[in-house]
């Protein structure tokens, strides 16, 4: 199995409404930046793995509408309907097994174009759930109540992460700067589905992300400082309604699978980029990955994470992008000193059913 490096990363600006671009054009912004970062052209890419969701794009098999911008005509293209970090794992496998040399991994989503209540509602079981009209907020509210009742975390823990994410948005040029808030303001905000308030949910966004993967041989030609994918893991948990939200067996398996491939032993990574749509979930996921919640905005989510503003499908791949900047030391004002190892996390599905972890490292 060959080593796989990340040789280029790019993102569009993520904003509430990118009405200025069609979704293929939105994705092209990220691809152009990633190609430029890698120092290659689109025709150098020999395969693509894309992540998107038809219901958000508003057409079926919507990846076919980005086939030209991802350069996949007459090349292998696969698409996952999940977070883009899942596409990264898929793209990693293609190169690790020796069949491909340079791969493009992308994710895009515009949460602004469809009716979110209808789209989220269609995720529910049609016989026993959908007619009751619940949405993702209701699922999260049910879960948050169980988590807080268990005593594992308190609403103030979650609110502190929201505050940190909003502060970090000011130093992340790829997201809209959010108004700064205090913990009290987060806790006093209108409730959506108790115990959750409107700021517990990450803001809805339009955005895209692209990552370029390469074999070790290609990576050493292209870069003096490639970032290596040292390990990957993924697992899907039980259906949300059948599972206590404190049961993060899937995340644990994904993390253990990724870390077992590295030579890190029990050393704690320098940076954690963790994806969660709701703040109480971020408390859970970050802790299970080994991060300290008090480090939010430092070694935990220096980018601000999804609460700084990334759409569904894109968020996990955005976490990878930030880890790459941190490991290359080019994260600017967000730079966490001398980061050598990082864990990037992504999640997909109602009630955080599927988890993905990528272990990334700098050096030779």
């Amino acid at each position: 199995m060959g080593r796989v490096a990340i040789v280029g990363v790019g993102q569009s600006v993520h904003a509430r409404d990118r009405n200025d671009v069609a979704y293929a054009e939105l994705l092209l912004e990220a691809i152009d930046e990633a190609l430029d970062d890698a120092g290659i052209g689109l025709s150098d890419v020999d395969n693509a793995v894309t992540a998107s969701l038809d219901f958000y794009d508003g057409r079926t098999i919507s990846n076919m509408a980005v086939a030209d911008v991802v350069g996949s005509y007459l090349k292998p293209e696969s698409r996952i309907c999940s977070d883009g970090i899942g596409a990264l794992l898929y793209g990693w496998a293609r190169i690790a097994d020796g069949d491909h040399r340079i791969g493009l991994v992308t994710a895009h989503c515009k949460e602004s174009e469809g009716n979110l209540a209808t789209i989220e509602g269609a995720a529910f079981d049609p016989f026993v759930q959908r007619r009751l009209g619940a949405d993702a907020d209701v699922v999260a509210g049910l879960g948050a109540r169980q988590i807080y009742a268990s005593g594992a975390f308190a609403p103030t823990d979650a609110a502190a992460l929201v505050v940190a994410a909003r502060a970090a948005s000011a130093v992340n040029p790829k997201v809209t700067t959010l108004k700064s808030m205090t913990v009290a303001e987060v806790l006093d905000a209108p409730r959506s589905a108790t115990p959750l308030g409107v700021f517990d949910r990450a803001p809805n966004r339009d955005g895209s992300c692209a990552v370029i993967l390469a074999t070790e041989e290609v990576a050493r030609e292209l870069s003096d400082s490639p970032v290596w994918i040292a390990g990957v893991g993924t697992a899907t948990g039980r259906y949300w309604a059948d599972r206590h939200p404190g049961d993060l067996s899937a995340l644990d398996r994904a993390r253990d699978g990724a870390v077992a491939m590295t030579g890190w032993g029990t050393d704690v990574p320098d940076v954690f980029e963790v994806s969660a749509q709701y703040a109480h979930e971020l408390c859970q996921f970050a802790t299970h990955l080994g991060a300290e919640l008090t480090e939010a905005g430092g070694s935990l989510n220096p980018s601000g994470g999804r609460h700084a503003g990334n759409p569904v499908t894109v968020s996990g791949l955005s976490r990878v992008t930030e880890c790459v900047h941190q490991l290359r030391g080019d994260a600017g004002p967000r730079q966490h000193h001398d980061a050598q190892r990082a864990l990037a996390h992504g999640v997909a599905g109602l009630g955080a059913q599927s988890h993905f972890v990528a272990a990334l490292e700098a050096g030779n």
Binding site: V21, Y23, A24, E25, L28, D68, E113, G114, N115, T118
Partner: protein, 164 residues
């Protein structure tokens, strides 16, 4: 312990959802539609690498992964590269009304373009339609155009059919 009892009638659950979208047309489609509406012009973009002209216009040439850098006028005439005569009635999504059948539907290679668009044919004598036949776009009058492909009513034969 009792086994799952047999059912008398299999349940079906009807589900009707209104999936509303507000699609951003983006830079390329917006300019394309604006030229149709304001000037009755059809435009494409030229690939900087393979020189092909792509209609409708787009930023990347799928054929060679080159970028397009130049906007060019194409048509309004071209040739039929493929056609069918539709015999089954359905609601025309551009008008909301049933389209009288039969009618012709063609792939059109506009002059100056390297890709096809497809559209309706005016010709009602369907035995006169042929691949390679020259046709030209018929536009709605300016006040009626609204920046959609319906600004082209249909394509008609460039020359009257031979028996006229």
């Amino acid at each position: 312990m009792s086994p799952t009892p047999p059912i008398d009638a299999a349940l079906r659950l009807e589900y009707v959802a209104d999936f509303e979208y507000s699609y951003a047309a983006g830079k390329f489609a917006s300019r394309f539609m604006d030229a149709l509406r304001t000037e009755a012009r059809i435009q494409g973009t030229r690939c900087d690498v393979c020189d092909k002209v792509l209609v409708p216009p787009r930023p990347v040439c799928g054929l060679c992964s080159g970028r397009t850098v130049e906007w060019v006028d194409v048509g309004p005439s071209g040739v039929i590269t493929g056609y069918t005569v539709v015999e089954v009635p359905f609601i025309d999504p551009m008008t909301g009304f049933e389209r009288p059948i039969p009618y012709g539907f063609a792939f059109v290679r506009l002059d100056g373009a390297d890709t096809n668009i497809y559209h309706f044919l005016e010709e009602s004598r369907h035995d006169k339609i042929s691949i390679g036949m020259r046709i030209t776009a018929v536009f709605k009058p300016a006040p009626e155009r609204d920046g959609t492909l319906a600004d082209i009513i249909h394509f008609r034969a460039e020359e009257p059919a031979a028996d006229e």
